[in-house]
């Protein structure tokens, strides 16, 4: 248990990170959309 098995990648962190990346991209897209259209 002390030595991680190299061929295994960290699925748990990767999944959540991907989820975070997706949310980040969608929010960034929202920011760009609002900036293009402007608030005026």
């Amino acid at each position: 248990m002390k030595k991680p098995i190299k061929k295994h990648k960290k699925l748990f962190y990767k999944t959540i990170r991907r989820m975070g990346d997706l949310v980040g991209l969608l929010l960034l897209f929202a920011a760009v959309l609002f900036a293009f259209r402007g608030f005026g």
Binding site: F12, M19, V23, L27, V32, F34, G40
Partner: protein, 436 residues
């Protein structure tokens, strides 16, 4: 509790809508003059960053209904990812605005407006400290208790300055009703911190517990038996956990999460921990009669109805599994259970003898996996890997739900191995402790 794509999509949409609330307020009603792409983008990033920051208080893992949907470990990891995102969005806000129009540098000029400049300098430093102390807590040598204090104070400070800044600039928040709605929503987020840190401890002070026994287990593990004082106890499911504060008052920074190791249909509860940190190392010195305050239960690491159990557990990660197995034994549960139990050495196998007893009463198969087996060992040896799990997989894996709890490398290996073996991810439950 069963995971599903639909549920995931629902929460994703809810999160996006909530994060965009400040933007929705900004674009509602009267709109100011358009000032060009860069300035508007900078402003939008500030509003969204503030929206994410506010949601951090909701998705902190301490709201039972939200934590129960995805599990505390997933929520905390998501909280961490979103914290980094909020950090990037909020820092990008002044950088882009100042790059678009350097005149905005005056916001940081103490000569023009001292309180404003101090507040913005504070928030910039506080944001960096908040993020860095959370990612590198151990490298900073911060104890969990001190980190918790710093985290709460800094995040509330940043939220307060962020909302005050939006109110004061008011470019998009004019007329007044827009500002009042924004403040109302963020006051609610801020209240959640007070609720967690003050209201909940006050509520738990009305329902104290008492340590009745401190029992040594194998591998320097200790079990605390607790009984409710003046109330009926706690209604929890096996596999869940509580936050415990030991001592005369629940208003303490020293609050830690532990899984139940006891069967879940009794008023007395047991928590088992390995003496690893300062707090758990002090358990052996706890005297029976010591007061305790519990908050919870939390967690979604609970057995799925109608499914057999396949457990991959390592070291002290066995505690939620013991709760499940003890409950099955007590209730004479006819379901099958397979336990792959990984430990470094045979002498360190916690609950070894009791597991043998449970095997007599229910349909339980225990596969001990040892890293350093004794001479003449005929069982499994080495680390958790795909071959080991495949060898011990039942003929009908579709009738099983899979539960993983243990050290990080074991969890990583077990999760990926089960996925490689074609197990539906919605039936794989894992609980991680080393998140904070």
């Amino acid at each position: 509790m069963k995971y599903s794509y639909r549920k995931g999509l629902f929460w994703l949409l809810v999160y996006l809508v909530l994060a965009l609330i400040p933007i929705f307020i900004a674009v509602a009603g009267t709109k100011p003059e358009y000032r060009g792409f860069a300035l508007e983008a900078g402003a939008a990033l500030g509003f969204i960053g503030l929206g994410i920051l506010g949601l951090q208080f909701l998705f902190s893992g301490r709201i039972q209904q939200i934590a129960a949907s995805f599990g505390m470990d997933n929520i905390l990891q998501y909280h961490r990812e979103m914290g980094i995102l909020a950090f990037l969005f909020i820092l990008a806000h002044p950088v882009i605005i100042i790059m678009a129009d350097s005149d905005f540098l005056r916001y940081f000029d103490p000569g023009e407006n001292l309180p404003r400049a101090l507040a913005l300098i504070f928030v910039s430093i506080a944001l960096i400290l908040l993020t860095a102390s959370s990612i590198w807590r151990l490298k900073f040598g911060l104890s969990y208790e001190n980190w918790r204090l710093v985290h709460g104070v800094l995040s509330l400070g940043i939220l307060f300055v962020g909302v005050s800044h939006s109110w004061q600039v008011a470019h998009y928040l004019d007329p007044l009703w827009k500002r009042i709605i924004l403040v109302g929503i963020f006051a609610f987020y801020g209240y959640l911190v007070f609720h967690t840190r003050l209201v909940r401890p006050w509520l738990s002070s009305k329902r104290p517990w008492k340590v009745t026994r401190v029992k040594p287990e194998r591998d320097d593990c200790w079990t605390l038996d607790l009984e409710p004082v003046g109330h009926k106890g706690m209604d929890y499911k096996c596999g869940q956990f509580v936050w415990i504060t030991l001592g005369p008052s629940p208003f303490s920074l020293q609050q830690h999460p532990f899984s139940f190791s006891s069967a879940c249909d009794q008023p007395m509860i047991s928590l088992t921990a390995k003496a690893l940190g300062d707090f758990t190392s002090s358990w052996k010195n706890i005297k029976p009669g010591t007061k305790a305050f519990l908050e919870g239960p939390f967690g979604s690491f609970t057995p799925l109805a109608g499914k057999n159990l396949y457990m991959v557990m390592g070291g002290i990660g066995i505690t939620p599994g013991m709760s499940m197995l003890r409950t099955m034994q007590k209730q004479k549960d006819p379901r099958k259970a397979i336990l792959v139990y990984a430990n470094p050495k045979w002498e360190e196998v916690t609950f070894r003898e009791e597991l043998e007893e449970i095997q007599q009463d229910i349909d339980l198969k225990v596969i001990h996996l040892l890293e350093e087996p004794p001479e003449g060992w005929e069982g499994e040896e080495g680390l958790v890997n795909t071959e080991l799990l495949e060898r011990n997989l039942p003929d009908n894996p579709e009738d099983f739900a899979f539960y993983i709890c243990g050290p990080k490398p074991m969890q990583d290996a077990a999760e990926l191995s089960l996925r490689d073996l074609g197990i539906d991810w919605r039936l794989i439950y894992s609980e991680r402790f080393q998140i904070i």
